[in-house]
């Protein structure tokens, strides 16, 4: 699904965010990306959905080469990759239903399909009854669930999450993690950058630790490994 070989990322300002990164993530895996702030986690995540380009090495996502991907082919990649952020990135003027449907409307899906799939994912995240409410009327956890619903509504092969529980209290974070587990059980690959020690140590999955732009640890069912 995701294959990185000898990946280097150097920003124009001279900062080297990643160097010599080799990783293979198979379809259906659940992977935590851990490490100190500024270690290169976000850059790693951004390479997968082509927010950044590698300056060396190859990154293959779902058969597409990120380094050589043409500007006009980026939309095709983004339709295979769902993204979830710490700050949810919901549109405040659209209601819950519209926010989720937005992801399908912009890829020109049939209206009947949009209705069906939006209601399905809203049911999955448990917010079907709040479909007509605005994001501002919801709690942080609920907003993140809407963002997750939006990221999976077009059935992507992989969901990338950058600190998805960073803005949430512990109880809510567990709800969100259960949701990611459910999505993973349906066969979707999950790649999650996180600082949440409790979650990583409790829901044991593959852990990739990045420090100073290098992978220092890659363990199946690993632990967080840092003092939180």
């Amino acid at each position: 699904m995701i294959d990185m070989q000898g990946v280097t990322k150097k920003y124009p300002n001279g900062v080297t965010a990643l160097s010599g990164v080799d990783v293979t993530i198979k379809q259906g895996e659940f992977v935590y990306i851990v490490g100190p702030s500024g270690a290169g986690k976000s850059t790693f995540i951004k390479l997968i959905y082509r927010e950044e380009k590698p300056t060396g090495g190859t990154v293959i996502v779902g058969g597409m080469n990120i380094a050589t991907l043409k500007q006009r082919s980026i939309p095709a990649l983004r339709r295979k990759v769902g993204v979830v952020f710490q700050d949810f990135k919901l549109l405040p003027l659209l209601n819950v239903y519209e926010n989720v449907a937005f992801a399908l409307e912009v890829i020109e899906e049939e209206p009947a399909v949009i209705r069906k799939q939006v209601m399905e994912v809203l049911d999955l995240v448990g917010l079907k009854h709040k479909a007509r409410m605005l994001p501002t009327e919801l709690s942080g956890g609920e907003q993140q669930r809407i963002a997750i619903a939006r990221s999976i509504v077009n059935d992507p092969k992989v969901v990338i999450a950058d600190e998805p529980t960073g803005n949430l209290d512990p109880d809510t974070s567990w709800d969100i993690m259960r949701l990611f587990e459910t999505i993973n059980e349906r066969g979707t690959t999950i790649v999650m950058a996180t600082h949440n020690k409790d979650i990583v140590n409790t829901i044991r999955r593959r852990v990739i630790a990045i420090e100073n732009g290098r992978i220092v640890r890659d363990e199946q069912r690993g632990d967080y490994g840092y003092e939180a």
């Binding site: 058969g63 500007q71 939309p75 095709a76 983004r78 990135k89 912009v106």
Partner: protein, 302 residues
């Protein structure tokens, strides 16, 4: 799933862009108002300016085309001398046309213009025989007149001297200033519109960011903004076009009445209003779309 380029817009999508563009106009009510006002003000100024410049130009041309040199022939000139003078004048390269008018004809013209009181002069005609000379280009009139004055049988060559020279230099300056001003106004309008649309896009950069994240194509993102620019341009052109169409109707009538009988006249209603308003419409549409295009480009190339 295809891995290539996503193109070809469905009709349903185009209807969505339409709806979206109108929704954005409403949602950003004040920004829309500001952008439309910018178009309105600049188009109004441009329109009025065009009307004035085109008419000044027309009047200038009318006056220029009417300029002629009246060559007074010496009273003692014999027929042969007159013929010689005529040949001399005709041989000047600037001269297009020479017509002879005897002093009797001149007097008849005078009587026709000034009234029958002048029939008194029929007893002793004080006028000169005249060659009426037209130059190829109106600007050559003063030079040609100076040359004609040198000929032996010329008493005097008259063409309204300073008045004409002042007019020529005024027309030249007015045209240049007009072109520069209109160009400047249009540039200002485009700048204002593109800036205003930039602000409306900036207000929606989060929306654009999310659209890109979920895989919208650049054209999908661009279309509603281009349509929005088009509507802003069209809305902004309503008042200026109406003002020019209605205003010129009355201006033309009022001024034509005063100019009757003179050799200058304003451009007719239809010949002026149709091209000017059409041009204003084209400008409005162009600056609207162009303004949003350059503004949205900045947000797409990430």
């Amino acid at each position: 799933m295809n891995s290539g380029v996503i193109t070809a817009m469905k009709p349903r999508t185009f209807r969505r862009h339409f709806r979206e563009s109108f929704k954005n106009l409403r949602r950003n009510g004040w920004m829309t108002f500001a952008a439309v006002s910018a178009v309105t003000v600049t188009l109004l100024l441009t329109g009025i300016f065009l009307v004035i410049m085109l008419n000044l130009n027309k009047i200038g041309t009318d006056i220029e085309n009417d300029v002629e040199i009246r060559v007074h022939v010496k009273l003692d000139a014999a027929e042969a001398d007159k013929e010689q003078l005529r040949t001399q004048i005709e041989n000047l390269p600037e001269v297009e046309d020479v017509e002879y008018s005897s002093k009797e004809q001149e007097l008849q013209n005078l009587i026709k213009d000034m009234g029958s009181d002048y029939t008194l002069f029929e007893q002793s005609n004080p006028l000169y025989d005249v060659f009426v000379v037209k130059t190829v280009r109106p600007q050559e009139t003063p030079g040609a007149a100076r040359k004609i004055e040198q000929f032996s049988q010329t008493e005097k060559a008259v063409y309204g001297e300073e008045k004409v020279e002042n007019l020529f230099s005024f027309m030249k300056t007015a045209r240049n200033v007009g072109v520069v001003l209109v160009a400047g106004l249009l540039f200002t309008a485009m700048f204002l519109i593109s800036n205003t649309i930039k602000i409306t896009i900036f207000a929606r950069r989060k929306e654009i960011e999310i659209m890109k994240l979920v895989g919208a194509t650049n054209w999908f993102i661009r279309w509603p903004f281009l349509l929005e620019g088009l509507w802003i341009g069209l809305l902004g052109s309503i008042i200026p076009i109406t003002a020019v169409a209605v205003g010129y109707y009355y201006a033309e009538q009022a001024i034509s009445a005063k100019l009757t009988g003179h050799f200058v006249e304003f451009i007719g209603y239809i010949p002026l209003v149709v091209p000017v308003t059409a041009l204003m419409l084209v400008i409005a549409v162009f600056i609207g779309i162009w303004g949003s295009f350059i503004s949205v480009r900045r947000f797409l190339n990430v």
